[in-house]
Amino acid sequence: MNLLTLTHLSKTFDNGLNALADVSLEEKDGEFLSLVGPSGCGKSTVLRIVAGLLKPDSGRIEFPHGRPEIGFVFQEPTLMPWTSALGNARLPLTLKHVPRAEADARAAKALARVGLAGFEKAYPRELSGGMKMRVSIARALAAEPKLLLMDEPFAALDEFTRQALNDDLIKLAREDAITVIFVTHSVYESAYLSDRVAVMTPRPGHIAADIALAQPAARDAAYRFTPQFADGAARISAALASAMAQAA
């Protein structure tokens, strides 16, 4: 059952930058899909079109079962510095006029789920990079999204923090049956996280390969050293190399 269907999307920006050329993609309900490609290949543009923040020049975007509640996580934590972790996590609910007490309770629960119980009153400047990203994820979760769009969210974090957040993300997405589109330029991160990986070519981006991965439900640090993981990473790597070669 498809949650999302993209058909022949193209986008050229006003400054003449041709970002997308004929992108077609579908995603099943509950699927974890990664978009992998070189910098500037239009991955973020796809996310922004799906979120409704950008109109494609041509092509269609369809949600067969109606537009789901959408969450968005950026590469930067993108928090409001003038309010606490709770105030930030509460944002989607505040904007939707959810009563304050209920919004507080739901935001606090979202913070607890990303491991930030007890940090409700902390201001962003008092938090580490990894904790800020957790607040950003809690903010997305607070709105109880069906579809979570993530734009290289862990690219700026150190390896340990990134792996911990990868594990938490898999768990949270499964618990809430959230469909995810995860943009990254890391082959290994996509091989670890995804049920499916769509490999994009350099600009103007289109889908060069669509790779399904058979993932174990439970993944941990040891999984990164299994032949199954290595095989997935190798297939993504090869597809990426071939996509780059086509473009060159």
């Binding site: 979120a51 923040l53 510095p81 003038w82 989607p92 904007l95 400047r125």
Partner: protein
């Protein structure tokens, strides 16, 4: 170290005053050229009631001009952020008003409002001087909201009003508070300059006290009035610095003490 921060400048001030006092006495400098600190203090105590009344008149106008400038500049900046067309139409004229020296339009304003209405003239001139820094900074601040946050607000269906009150105004706050510190001092300067320009009429502010004392060669009274004006300027600056600190210290980098 922190005690030295206060002791050193105070000790320097005391030393300069002492040297001043001794030199003026030693070289018998006439009081109409340079009065000694003791003479200034005597002039201050002798004219205490009159000086305080004059200061009060001036500061009342300063405060009113400052509040009016802040209110109207923030309102206009919000209007600019809502409509580029309004900004294109009005901003050039705001700049013209800013770059024209206020002293040069003073006679015109005084003629318009009339000599019997001199306080309104002072108010208008201080308002003009204090207005522009607040307008310019708040306009930039309202436009400086993080583009990704704007997208997020749109994704969650925020209204124009929610984007303004929950994103743009908090973003603009540090810019606004910085501008208020500049404009607080400017409104004091504006009133004094306007009092000099008015020169007469029924003005009774501290600017007029200065003019009158200089005409009568009461140099000690001039110094006393100057010292009062400096104190008032410093008080305005500290009050606005305190306001800035109390609103920003929880979250803004400029007001955060570094831990390392």
């Amino acid at each position: 170290m922190s005690a030295l921060k206060y002791i050193v400048p105070l000790a320097l001030g005391a030393a300069v005053l002492a040297l001043w006092q001794v030199s003026v006495r030693h070289y018998a400098v006439p009081a109409y050229v340079l009065p000694a600190p003791g003479d200034i203090w005597a002039a201050f105590t002798a004219n205490f009631a009159q000086l305080m009344a004059a200061l009060w008149v001036t500061l009342r106008i300063v405060a009113l001009a400052f509040v009016l400038a802040a209110g109207s500049a923030v309102a206009l900046a919000i209007l600019f952020s809502l409509s580029r067309l309004v900004e294109f139409a009005l901003y050039p004229y705001a700049i013209v008003l800013q770059v024209t020296p206020v002293i040069s339009i003073a006679p015109l304003i005084i003629i318009w409002v009339g000599y019997d209405n001199i306080e309104s003239a002072l108010l208008i001139m201080a308002w003009i001087v204090a207005f522009f820094p607040i307008l310019a900074n708040t306009t930039i601040g309202l436009r400086s909201a993080d583009a990704n946050l704007v997208d997020l607000f749109r994704l969650y269906g925020a209204s124009r009003r929610q984007i303004l009150t929950r994103l743009q105004l908090p973003t603009a706050l540090p810019y606004l508070l910085g501008a208020l510190k500049v404009s607080g001092g400017l409104s004091l300067i504006g009133v004094i300059v306007a009092e000099f320009a008015a020169g007469t009429g029924n003005d009774t502010g501290i600017g007029w006290t200065l003019t009158e004392a200089s005409r009568n060669l009461h140099i000690a009274t001039m110094f006393a009035a100057l010292a009062l004006l400096s104190l008032a300027g410093v008080a305005i600056f500290f009050a606005l610095t305190w306001l800035e600190w109390s609103l920003l210290h929880r979250w803004h980098e400029s007001a955060v003490k570094r831990q390392i």
